[in-house]
Assembly symmetry: C2
Homo-oligomer: 153 residues x 2
Amino acid sequence: MTSGYFDESEIGDSRKAGPYFVSKEEIIQFAKQFDPRPFHIDEEAAARSVFAGLSASAAHTFAIFISLTFKLQPPIFAIAGMGYDELRLPNPVRPGDNLDLESTVLEMRESKSKPDMGILRNQVHLRNQKRETVLQCISSVLVARRPDAKPSM
Amino acid sequence: MTSGYFDESEIGDSRKAGPYFVSKEEIIQFAKQFDPRPFHIDEEAAARSVFAGLSASAAHTFAIFISLTFKLQPPIFAIAGMGYDELRLPNPVRPGDNLDLESTVLEMRESKSKPDMGILRNQVHLRNQKRETVLQCISSVLVARRPDAKPSM
């Protein structure tokens, strides 16, 4: 697993990225644009809510996950996300959190329509500094094949 | 289906929101922050890519979906998103697109842990002005129950 091509991936491979520091200002700014509910934009209202404090919008947490996918190490030549299954946000993202991403290959198959690409299905966990999962899903990602790869693995 | 409480929802109910106008500037600004790949931030590079033109980040499309959920009509007293299944982005979001959201109730059940809430499972479609789906998923949403609702429906 030294290059980013599909062909060098194996089931069970784990890639990591982070940390991503989440500031209070970023939480409020993102939520004002896309999810302006009081517990995402107003500290006092958030303290009184079921969330007991300011927390990031689910859309913001998802955006942080996507931003970390480009920093995964070892690298992977991801071309496009194809889909996301069983997306859950079991714990809130709080101001000051440091998030890191772990992506583990669950399944891999060649693309039927694109012989120069393969598809990796990954178990994804975005966790905070307390090792609590704040986002998890199964992502399906289109990945470049090695130029000299045989059409059938 | 005249109020936003869980108890007035029925399977098959459809709610709508939109349009949401997507500007080129917003696509580029969002992508620079969370998904700075050339086909999201550079028109010339995008024209040469497999996407054949600038397109919004998947994270941006998801954020637009979330922002429209608060504008659904008839309204719904949504407290929190619990999860998203089978999330797919079958067509790209382009500069100048007008997106609208349709959410249809698939299943409904009382919350076991929170007697004042219920859970709606919805089939969601975000579509552009050509009626192409740009995002689809099944969302599970925690919804307030009518204060006088019986503990068992």
